[in-house]
């Protein structure tokens, strides 16, 4: 028997997911269990609409969630979790971060959610989104300009930095293939390392990095000298590479403004986490 007005009952089910869950577990009352499940999904639907701004930042993640039939169940779960955590009034940036964090946990903790490409695409789009908030290093003006004339010994003492926000991530499947090909076209794509770069004008670029580029760039942390970067890259598998090859790569990376060089450590900014 429903003890209060139907509107209040529906409102409580939507605003108090634990109450709805208790009704579903009890499987009693005047409301059909299938309608209770639909009510739960309707709550997810409302939450989904309240996250329409995610289309802008996570378009492929959302498309995959939809294509795998996870969209409404996910947002229904997320609604319950965010209510329980008191997250009803988050700032837009917090809201996006909370969504991405919750979805990643769901994918990692529930085998049924391990759909091809979903985790990779989520992480990829999260990197791009987070990159948009990162700011440029202030010490770019102190950077060494004439690299070609520099002796090898002095070159080894330089400190490579990323003058503009840059990050790298390795994926079991190439997330950009999913973005480029609707219909889960990236399922068969291979392991890949991507570099995320924020340009001075604020735009973002994604670079596909080969093994050598990834090994060298991943050793750059804004405090290490070139000699340490090379040593680390050798430890990472580039034992046979010649010094000239390292220097060529680093000079080319500087020419492309992916990295810049400081003369002294005191000029180096704190490394980004």
């Amino acid at each position: 028997m429903m003890e209060f007005a139907a509107e209040t009952f529906i409102a409580r089910c939507l605003m108090d997911p634990r109450y709805l869950e208790s009704l579903r577990e009890a499987s009693q009352g005047t409301v059909d269990p299938s309608d209770l499940e639909r009510l739960r999904l309707f709550g997810g639907f409302i939450t989904k609409i309240q996250h329409n701004d995610l289309w802008e930042h996570f378009p492929t993640t959302r498309r995959l969630l939809h294509d795998f039939g996870l969209e409404l169940p996910f947002f229904a779960d997320y609604r319950a979790a965010s209510f329980a955590a008191g997250q009803s009034k988050l700032e837009p940036r917090q809201k996006v971060g909370a969504f991405a964090g919750f979805l990643e946990n769901q994918i990692l903790s529930r085998p049924a959610w391990r759909c091809p490409g979903l985790l990779e695409v989520l992480r990829h789009e999260r990197h791009l989104w987070e990159l948009s908030f990162e700011t440029t290093t202030e010490r770019v003006a102190d950077c060494v300009k004439q690299l070609e004339s520099l002796q090898w010994k002095r070159f080894l003492n330089l400190i490579p930095i990323f003058p503009n926000p840059f990050r790298m991530a390795a994926f079991d499947r190439d997330p950009t293939a999913f973005a480029a090909t609707p219909g889960n076209g990236g399922r068969r794509s291979r392991r890949v390392v991507l570099g995320y770069r924020k340009m001075p004008d604020g735009s973002r670029r994604v670079l596909t990095l080969d093994r050598i580029s990834a090994a060298i760039l991943s050793a750059v942390n804004g405090r290490r000298q070139v000699r340490t970067v090379i040593a680390r890259a050798r430890e990472a598998g580039l034992r046979a590479a010649q010094p000239r090859q390292f220097r060529n790569f680093l000079e080319q990376a500087a020419q492309a403004e992916i990295i810049a060089f400081l003369l002294r450590l005191e000029n180096a900014p704190e490394p980004k986490r």
Partner: protein, 330 residues
């Protein structure tokens, strides 16, 4: 030719708010034109201003939610280029909790500022009484009603018919322009309902002079959930009351149909639209493709063209026969 309706100087807003920047901006809204054929518009999304700039003749008006204008009054400046139709999800007209007076006054303000020809509101509730809800584990807003933050179709019974009729009359006395009520989608069987949604709408129309905003995607979704033939049921609606039509997409998920303003309308919705045009001539047809700011412009333009073509085809069918005949020889 479109004419400017009036100058309006917005009321003061809190210092530093988005609205404050527009305190001293004279908004000169373009009036909604009188026309025999339905006008075609778009629900506001971030892409709409650029579309209007690139294709000034693509749409006749833009539909804007009142709630968006409260959040960002600068959106209203688009009304200097193109007529605005005001949409609303605030009155909770089917609910038992009255809309706060301050909100009604804000709606009145935006009604004047936008020169909207009517106010589209949902036949739904948004708030509900909390007192009788039993033990509540999380009193995050003690003493306040539940605020769902989204429109929900109400129980369909005589008690709610009477409530909607009373609220409609009460709010119509406060709002100068006509209030159109929009049919909501049913995603589950609403408890305490004793009639179909069509009968529910008809019963309200019998008690009031309410006019309708017919959302065809909602109607399609309701038909799927409740298991009726949408095309047959459509004829049972008081279509002569329809002033505005909404067209949008539908999503099939979890064995159900769901509203989706991020995809184009399915053929089923298009067939319903043609059927409506065979029966009546609404004043406005709004395409609601406003959930994704990245909605492809090419699809928007295709959908607009298709909508206009449907209207044109219907007018050709309804055109009076040509009675001019060559005079017979004496």
């Amino acid at each position: 030719m479109l004419k400017a309706a009036s100058y309006y100087f917005p009321r003061s807003a809190e210092p530093g708010s988005v609205g404050a920047r527009y305190n001293h901006v004279a908004i000169m809204p373009v009036a909604f034109p009188q026309q025999e054929t339905p006008l075609v518009g778009l629900a506001y999304s971030k892409y709409v201003p650029n579309l209007i700039t690139a294709k000034p003749d693509a749409i006749d008006y833009v539909e804007i939610p009142f709630e968006l204008l409260v959040h960002d009054p600068s959106v209203a400046t688009i009304g200097e280029k193109i007529p605005i139709v005001l949409h609303c999800a605030t009155l909770s007209i089917a609910g038992s909790v009255p809309c706060p007076e301050a909100r009604i006054q804000e709606i009145q303000s935006w009604e004047r500022r936008t020169a909207t020809p009517w106010l589209g509101e949902h036949l739904a509730f948004i708030t509900a009484e909390r007192e009788a809800a039993g033990d509540y584990a999380e009193p995050y807003a003690p003493g306040e009603p539940y605020n769902i933050g989204y429109t929900v179709s109400p129980p369909m019974n005589q008690e709610v018919v009477a409530r909607v009729a009373a609220n409609f009359v009460r709010y119509s006395e406060r709002i100068t322009v006509p209030i159109l009520l929009e049919n909501g989608p049913l995603y589950f069987r609403i408890p305490s309902s004793t009639m179909t949604q069509t009968d529910f709408i008809q019963a309200i129309c019998d008690q009031t002079d309410m006019e309708l905003l017919l959302d065809l995607a909602h109607f399609h979704i309701t038909s799927q959930t409740m298991g009726f033939d949408a095309e047959q049921e459509l004829d049972k609606l008081p279509l002569e009351r329809v002033v505005e039509v909404h067209i949008s997409g539908v999503d099939e998920q979890q064995s159900g149909s769901w509203d989706n303003h991020a995809v184009r309308a399915p053929e089923s919705v298009r067939r319903l639209f043609d059927q409506v045009l065979e029966r009546v001539t609404p004043r406005a047809v709004t395409l609601e493709y406003n959930w994704s700011s990245a909605f492809p412009r090419a699809i928007v333009l295709e959908e607009l063209a298709r909508t206009k073509e449907s209207i044109r085809n219907q007018r050709v069918r309804l055109a009076p026969p040509d009675h001019s005949v060559t005079a017979l020889p004496q």
